[in-house]
């Protein structure tokens, strides 16, 4: 490895959002001809780091070095100009514009008088797709593209820019085996051409397969940078988590009772197909799979937020009418949604208001809502869930992610449900609170609650679930009992490498 300065580097960078310290004193060097991995749990600060490299955020302390010299990005445009291309976790396309326009936005080939040369635009896009081995029509609008295809458009965008630095924030989360292989081939070609690449993935085997060095973050702090040669996956997990896995997943043994939730042949066209499963009392069933496999959509359909085209849902042997969250709630279903800021909480509302929302009727004294009952109930739940707060009248927006999630849980547990559906219960939550949430779920199951847990966090799935259901491209690909569930069996089913019959 030559000793020329790294193309792009971060020197002792810190960044805070309000009271949340997202990054503290983090350094990173991206060298030409190297694929560098960034490892860390959800909420460790990886996305913040990416956004600083991309010029979206500016560091509070420390700085960005470009070719060894301090450099300040004033915005995403600056970073792009410097040759930094980013593929975000969520593709950032313009749904109304054509695929070709999406790729060349701001850099369209020009004809006379500065007009866009549409023919050249189309031809260059077609050429890019040919190089990537993709069959996409340059003229179709980006609306309605699958996540994998959107990702490919993003990659085409980066390649067309002749980027010197390519940052990929969990690009493989929604890709199938073939698509991952294709992406890796492209990444290696760029590496040979002298680009510096930063690769983020939760799949450790991908990191070991593709990368040469790895930097680990934990809770916003820099842990280490080291060669991947001579490192084992266990070492890496150890650095990321910083503790033994057992304490993180306190699973109680339970004997499942009667079937509480029964989903049969549930289908929503183009989203999920023929999904059947049961959840029994006292059981934690995990719904695993890649992002975009249709897991959250199934949960939303069960709870009645979305419609479904065929099949049915039964709670305690009684059929649930479709498309009515009110009916689902009175049947005893609770749904803790994936996105707590948008769907789980009223961010400007107080803690007590948020907890009381699901039970407004029972808070009444006469026709009006009693503030005292509301506050008492909230205080009750705050103690039970060990919520850390200053005053119950504070807005939930000031709480940390983990405590916000506890408020959402309190809000739904106060409805005394028989089925609890949790969608990504610990995403973006610090490790300590994560263990608390896990203990809580385990206790609740022990008390006879049926829990359906959607999670992209494999260790969480393996550590908490009695059974693992795996979805792949809208279908249930496998049902794996706790004893047989390993990273390999679950990932194999999630990426469609094995076609096991669902029970």
């Amino acid at each position: 490895m030559s000793e020329s300065p790294p193309i792009l580097a971060l020197a002792s960078v810190s960044k805070a959002f309000g009271a949340v310290r997202a990054l503290q004193d983090v350094s990173l060097e991206l060298r030409g001809g190297e694929i560098h991995a960034l490892a860390g749990e959800n909420g460790a600060g990886k996305s913040t780091l990416v956004k600083i490299l991309a010029g979206v955020h500016r560091p509070d302390e420390g700085g960005v070095l470009l070719d060894g010299r301090p450099h300040e990005f004033h915005g995403p445009g600056d970073a792009q100009h410097a040759g930094v291309a980013v593929i975000y976790q969520e593709p950032t396309l313009f749904p109304d514009l054509s695929v070709a326009e999406n790729i060349f936005m701001g850099r369209q080939p020009r004809a006379r008088f500065g007009r866009i040369d549409r023919r050249a635009l189309r031809a260059e896009t077609a050429k890019l797709f040919e190089r990537l081995g993709v069959a996409l029509d340059p003229d179709r609008p980006a609306r309605g593209l699958s996540i994998a295809d959107q990702q490919l458009v993003e990659i085409a965008k980066a390649i067309s820019r002749d980027a010197r630095v390519l940052i990929m924030d969990e690009p493989t989360a929604a890709l199938s085996g073939n698509e991952v292989a294709r992406l890796f081939a492209v990444a290696r070609t760029l590496q040979e051409q002298g680009c510096a690449l930063l690769f983020i993935s939760h799949r450790l085997e991908e990191i070991f397969d593709l990368c040469q060095r790895v930097t680990t973050l934990r809770d916003g702090r820099y842990i280490s940078t080291e060669e991947l040669d001579g490192l084992t996956p266990d070492d890496l997990v150890q650095r990321m988590v910083g503790r033994e896995l057992d304490t993180l997943y306190p699973k109680q043994e339970t004997t499942p009772g009667e079937t509480v939730l029964k989903v049969s042949r549930l289908t929503r066209e183009g989203v999920f197909t023929d999904v059947s499963f049961e959840v029994r009392a006292g059981e934690i069933v995990a719904l695993a799979g890649l992002v975009g496999a249709g897991r959250s959509e199934v949960a939303r359909a069960i709870f009645g937020v979305d419609r479904y085209d065929a099949g049915g849902v039964e709670v305690a042997a009684a059929k649930l009418p479709a498309g009515s969250p009110t009916a689902a709630m009175s049947a005893g279903i609770a749904l803790v949604p994936e996105d707590r800021r948008q769907q789980g909480l009223v961010m400007d509302g107080s803690i007590e208001r948020n907890i009381g929302l699901t039970q407004l009727r029972s808070l009444r004294r006469g026709p009006i809502i009693s503030r005292k009952v509301e506050r008492d109930r909230a205080a009750d739940w705050a103690i039970r869930l060990q919520l850390k707060y200053a005053r119950l009248s504070d807005t939930v927006g000031v709480l940390s992610g983990g405590n916000q999630q506890k408020v959402v849980l309190a809000k739904w547990l106060s409805t005394d449900p028989s089925v609890l559906i949790v969608d990504e219960p610990t995403r973006g939550i610090d490790v300590g609170t994560k263990a608390e949430v896990h203990r809580l779920l385990s206790e609740l199951a022990g008390q006879g609650l049926a829990v359906l847990m959607i999670s992209s966090d494999l260790p969480e799935v393996l550590g908490m679930a009695d059974r693992v259901l795996v979805m792949h491209e809208g279908r249930l690909a496998a049902e794996i009992p706790r004893a047989e569930a390993t990273e390999e069996t679950v990932m194999a089913a999630a990426t469609g490498r094995t076609r096991q019959e669902a029970a």
């Binding site: 313009f94 514009l97 936005m105 701001g106 609306r143 309605g144 593209l145 066209e269 989203v271």
Partner: protein, 339 residues
């Protein structure tokens, strides 16, 4: 290969739907004209046609400016007040003097530009919601106008003949007013479609977050959109004076909603990202034609607003329905291609 044909099919579908919008407005126009002519043959006289185009010109001009704003997922409600203010101000400016027409136009557009600039700065730099900002400027500009006018009015006798000629004269049989509108429409339409910076207006409305990440100068574009809308409203104000000669303070009162209606009926998505100035201008023509038809058919003119409203609801419902259909169709194609 299957994927390619499926994608092409999806695109054709979307294309057809989009083109169908402009075509369906044209079809509605033709049906309207044919039926009305059948009832009253004088409707299609050359004078009748000329009147419709003259009446539609100012609305279409405003619709072109409004399209630029709406495409970026914003709205400009102040245009009606700007037309009123500029019509009165330029009336005051020319009254008793023989001013050059070009100078009057420039003064009017400059006043419009100032109004547009205020809107644009408030929306883009201070991040105040466009609806609130332009509702505020609507009332402020209207108030200024009323205060200044103080019950006076501009009379046609005070307006120089050269200016009145701009409003009512023609070249080679084509009146100036629609000519100006068509030229402006073609210029703005060509810019939005064929220039990189023009496409950025659509990108901003389509996905503002992605636009930010793509390094698009969002504030600059939104400011430009309001500036253009303001300048065109200023131009429309002078043309209003030229066409009618007599101007009272509340000229063009309530026109902002007619303009928005024309734009939406013309197929510009109110949430941004989609639509063309041609569709918007056609929408303005359709609304104006309906107004004339009601007069010819001796329907009480109170119905005009109700019909415009109905058309608006119809347009939005159709958009929503088609949008859902198209998305579902594209998704199904993808699902099939994935399987």
């Amino acid at each position: 290969m299957a994927a390619v044909t499926a994608d092409a099919g999806g695109r054709r579908l979307v294309d057809t739907v989009l083109r169908a919008r402009e075509l369906s407005i044209l079809a509605a126009l033709i049906v309207l004209v044919v039926v009305t002519t059948a009832v009253n043959s004088s409707f299609l006289s050359s004078q009748g046609i000329k009147d419709i185009f003259l009446n539609a010109s100012i609305l279409a001009l405003l619709a072109v400016g409004q399209t630029m704003v709406v495409v970026t997922r914003n709205i400009d409600l102040s245009v009606g007040s700007v037309v009123g203010l500029v019509a009165f101000a330029s009336g005051k400016f020319v009254a008793g003097h023989d001013r050059n027409v070009l100078l009057v136009l420039l003064v009017g557009m400059a006043i419009g530009a100032v109004c547009g600039l205020v809107n644009g700065v408030l929306v883009s730099f201070f991040k105040v919601p466009a609806l609130v900002v332009t509702l505020g400027t609507l009332y402020v500009i209207q108030g200024l106008d009323y205060y200044w006018a103080h019950g006076q009015q501009i009379n046609a006798a005070d307006v120089p003949a050269s200016l009145l000629d701009l409003g009512n004269g023609s070249v080679a049989g084509i009146p100036y007013l629609p000519l100006i509108t068509v030229v402006v429409m073609l210029a703005v339409g060509h810019y939005l479609r064929s220039y990189p910076s023009g496409r950025e207006f659509y990108a901003i409305g389509s996905n503002p977050d992605a636009a930010r990440l793509a390094g698009i100068a969002i504030r600059k574009r939104i400011l430009t959109a309001y500036l253009v809308s303001g300048v065109l409203a200023g131009l429309a104000g002078v043309l209003w004076l030229a066409r009618f000669g007599t101007v009272v303070a509340d000229a063009a009162h309530g026109w902002e909603l007619r303009v928005v209606a024309a734009v939406v009926v013309g197929g510009v998505a109110i949430v941004g990202g989609l639509g063309s100035v041609y569709g918007a201008a056609l929408g303005a023509l359709l609304l104006t034609t309906i107004g004339s038809v009601l007069v010819v058919l001796k329907v009480n003119s109170f119905w005009q607003d109700a019909i415009a409203g109905l058309l608006l609801l119809l347009a939005i419902s159709v958009d929503r329905l088609l949008g859902l259909r198209v998305t579902r169709a594209l998704r199904k194609r993808n699902a099939r291609h994935g399987a």
